[in-house]
């Protein structure tokens, strides 16, 4: 079989992903996550009578807990494979990556498994965030004076 024929065969049997539907689902789910976040912020600010800044901290903790807990129950993997970036980009994706790494490596022991591998996926976010924030912070400090 020559290369062209092979490529045609492969493209014939590769499942076609509808990019429009994927994008629409990601938009809707991500948007609903945003609405949920804002709802939680207003809820905490109103019921505990705390400023919005503190309420947003509570909101992030709630969403992280939801992400972790649903991953444990086994729902979240299916939800992620359905909504993709709609759930990966919000903070729940960060929680999900840590929780699934923790669950996966738990059986290899507490220190060598769980401790060593928990940040395997989430570590990139922290490392690139810190490095870029440091560089941009330096830039801001020296160019714009803080």
């Amino acid at each position: 079989m020559d290369k062209k024929k092979y490529k045609m065969l492969v493209s014939k049997y590769t499942p076609k992903e509808n990019r429009l539907t994927n994008g629409l689902i990601a938009f809707l789910v991500g948007g609903l996550m945003g609405v949920l976040g804002q709802t939680l912020v207003s809820f905490y600010a109103y019921y505990f009578s705390i400023p919005t800044k503190d309420a947003s901290v509570f909101m992030i903790i709630t969403l992280v807990f939801l992400g972790c807990f649903l991953t444990c129950l086994g729902f979240f993997d299916k939800m992620v494979s359905f909504a993709r970036c709609g759930l990966i980009i919000p903070i729940t994706g960060f929680a999900h990556s840590m929780m699934s790494a923790a669950l996966e490596y738990r059986k290899e022991g507490l220190v060598t498994g769980l401790g060593a591998n928990m940040f395997k996926l989430a570590g990139t976010v922290i490392i690139f965030g810190v490095v870029s924030a440091y560089l941009f912070g330096l830039l801001r400090y020296f160019v714009m004076g803080g």
């Binding site: 938009f27 996550m33 912020v41 970036c85 830039l139």
Partner: protein, 116 residues
């Protein structure tokens, strides 16, 4: 009204991520790292603060706010203690997300077992 803004902002960020995921060979790890860098970059000129004012919680939920909060916490201490504040204050505002993720995943992984 802020709910609509939150929906639009968070939805648009996720849509951009999904478009990058579908049209390139980048993995979700690349995209989240990229978005954190973009969030930190937008905070150089305080642009992301405008988004937070406009969309409220909708701007705090996507991972871009992680970069924004990193540089924001650092700049707050820089204003008080000089350039060393970049080292001491970096995690001031993001520690809630990181610590809660560590605590919850550690404790829950002791209780639950992976489902296949």
């Amino acid at each position: 009204m802020i709910y609509l803004n939150a929906f639009l902002f968070a939805g648009t960020v996720c849509l951009i991520g999904q478009m990058i995921l579908d049209n390139t060979k980048l993995t979700p790890g690349h995209i989240t790292s990229m978005f954190v860098v973009v969030g930190a970059f937008l905070d150089i000129f305080d642009i992301y603060d405008q988004f937070v004012l406009w969309a409220g919680g909708g701007a705090l939920v996507p991972i871009t706010s992680f970069g924004h909060l990193l540089i924001h916490g650092a700049m707050d201490t820089v204003n008080n203690f000089g350039v060393m504040g970049l080292f001491t204050g970096m995690f001031d505002l993001t520690s809630s997300g990181i610590v809660s993720a560590i605590i919850f995943s550690f404790l829950l992984s002791l209780v639950f077992h992976p489902k296949d």
